[in-house]
């Protein structure tokens, strides 16, 4: 089983960090993982993306060209990658930042006002993790327990408040029904 995930948005939205947490979650589950920051011809115009592969087997190509899961945090990213998502795949959109909708009917699309929810819950910069929560709930690729372990691994112990914020954010994403 292999999950190919693409996270895309503007630089500064925490795309790379969310990707890193995702990759660490795979690591906590003893999977093979890879994390590749935007480093191809697609890097332009201040957009930022990140390929994450989580697999039971060796990861062949770390570059996700046809994601099974797309997290889109701005309109250009959604427009750019919407047609590359595999049929039957999942798209999670930050609807605070994206005003477009997905017309494809062969994918499962979820809209979640992650940036607004982050502001409402006093979690600045937490939209990326809220979106991850939504992905976890809808796809089951990572459990809440695994995510917690990943956060503990990545966030240093002395920044406990930061870890708590991330756990709160992921819960908001998992609980959101819209």
């Amino acid at each position: 089983m292999t999950h190919d995930i693409l996270l895309a948005g503007f630089g500064g939205q925490g795309i790379l960090f969310a990707g890193k947490i995702l990759a660490y979650s795979g690591l906590m589950d003893n999977k093979e993982v890879s994390w590749l920051p935007s480093y191809g011809p697609e890097m332009r115009g201040g957009t930022c993306n990140c390929s994450v592969c989580i697999s039971d087997n060796e990861v062949a190509s770390p570059l996700v060209n046809e994601p099974e899961i797309l997290i889109a945090m701005n309109t250009p990213s959604l427009e750019k990658f919407v047609n590359s998502v595999k049929a039957g795949g999942t798209i999670v959109v930050d609807s605070t930042m994206v005003d477009a909708t997905v017309e494809r009917t062969d994918v499962n699309t979820y809209y979640i006002p992650a940036t607004q929810l982050a502001t409402d819950n006093d979690l600045p910069g937490g939209a990326n993790i809220i979106l991850l929560g939504k992905v976890f709930k809808e796809t089951g690729i990572v459990s809440a327990e695994t995510f917690k372990k990943a956060i503990e691994k990545v966030v240093p112990a002395k920044k406990a408040a930061l870890a708590a914020n991330n756990l709160k954010a992921v819960q908001i994403g998992m609980d959101y029904n819209g």
């Binding site: 990759a23 660490y24 890879s34 994390w35 590749l36 480093y39 191809g40 011809p41 190509s61 060209n65």
Partner: protein
């Protein structure tokens, strides 16, 4: 052993310290700067010398100086910087000094771009500087293999008194993968030739690449080529993946081999007998392994992030006994698995 996620560049730097590297001399250039940044910090704790040189030329000559005294020395750069180092690398080879040089390749020629590339294959394997010489050239394809290769590069460089290069690329340098650091015991290799002060206990050592008598120079070069012959015999390396019954084999190294493996997996799912030959050493070139891997193939596809710099070596390896087709992207464009799959299909049907 604990698995951690690390960027290729940082993992490589950490592995170098564990392999007994005592000094690093470098100059900033994308996409390898993490190596310098990591070592600038880590050498402080681990005990070692980090120095940012005024140029690539100075950096490689600092490596020459340190290596002359017998310590394990390393430098790293990316393509345009390696061109500048070529003078020093020739002197290092001509002085029979061991060292490790990292090239995290980017697109060229000229200033080129900063995206991943494999367009320095010719430079690394054929023409890194003037004169009759070779470097050991390793082409890892994962973060873990970057780690494992560093130790091997230092050990073989010391054993054969020659420079070793790790030919990586921007993709391998920038990506994170799980990595473990095996307990390394750096090989203790005696260096009686080192110029580190004779302490009035021996004759003076001279580290030198100048031999004005043609017959003396010829002998020194020929001696070196005898060592090269032994290296070719003992240390060429390649991974063969699903080649046993493969009718079409893809040859690819480094990051391209990752993409090619995905393509081979896709082809197999479609019932096409495809395989992958992945050279791990580019010099010495794994001729035996290529022939073994291609024995049942009617077509070889050489996939690269260049305009086909490895193609001739593959043709020579199989003695032009079967067609070697080329597929590549260059300038920093990373091929897609689907593109290589299309190539496999194109040749997979025809016999």
């Amino acid at each position: 052993m604990e698995r951690n996620l690390m960027k290729g560049n940082e993992a490589l730097a950490e592995a170098a310290i564990r392999a007994g590297c005592k000094c690093f001399f470098g100059y900033p250039i994308t996409p390898q700067t993490e190596i310098s940044a990591y070592l600038a910090k880590r050498f402080k704790q681990a005990g070692g010398v980090f120095l940012q040189a005024e140029s690539e030329i100075a950096a490689i000559n600092m490596v020459l100086g340190a290596a002359s005294t017998g310590v394990r020395a390393m430098t790293s750069s990316s393509s345009p910087g390696i061109s500048l180092k070529s003078e020093g690398i020739s002197y290092i080879a001509g002085s029979d000094l061991p060292c490790v040089i990292i090239n995290v390749q980017r697109g060229g020629p000229g200033l080129g771009g900063i995206q991943p590339s494999q367009a320095d294959y010719w430079q690394a394997t054929k023409a890194l500087g003037h004169g009759d010489f070779h470097l050991l050239v390793f082409a890892p394809n994962s973060v873990q293999e970057m780690v494992d290769t560093v130790t091997k590069a230092f050990d073989l460089a010391d054993e054969y008194r020659m420079p070793a290069m790790i030919l990586a690329d921007g993709l391998l340098g920038q990506m994170m993968e799980p990595v473990t650091f095996p307990e390394v015991t750096a090989k203790e290799i005696e260096k009686p030739w080192a110029a580190n002060g004779h302490g009035n206990k021996r004759e003076h050592n001279i580290i030198n690449s100048l031999f004005l008598q043609p017959d003396v120079l010829e002998k020194s070069v020929k001696d070196r080529f005898e060592r090269y012959a032994e290296i070719k015999e003992k240390h060429s390396d390649a991974e063969l993946y699903m080649t046993e019954d493969a009718e079409v084999v893809v040859t690819a190294y480094g990051a391209t081999a990752r993409v090619a493996k995905a393509a081979v997996n896709m082809a197999r799912e479609q019932g096409i007998k495809a395989g992958l030959i992945r050279p791990i050493t580019l010099w010495p070139f794994p001729v035996k392994q290529i022939n073994e891997g291609a024995k049942n193939a009617h077509t070889i596809i050489c996939a690269e992030m260049s305009m086909g710099q490895m193609v001739d070596d593959i043709k020579l390896a199989v003695n032009c006994s079967k067609p070697v087709e080329f597929f590549g992207r260059t300038g920093g464009v990373i091929p897609k698995p689907s593109e290589i799959l299309d190539e496999i299909k194109k040749y997979g049907g025809a016999k």
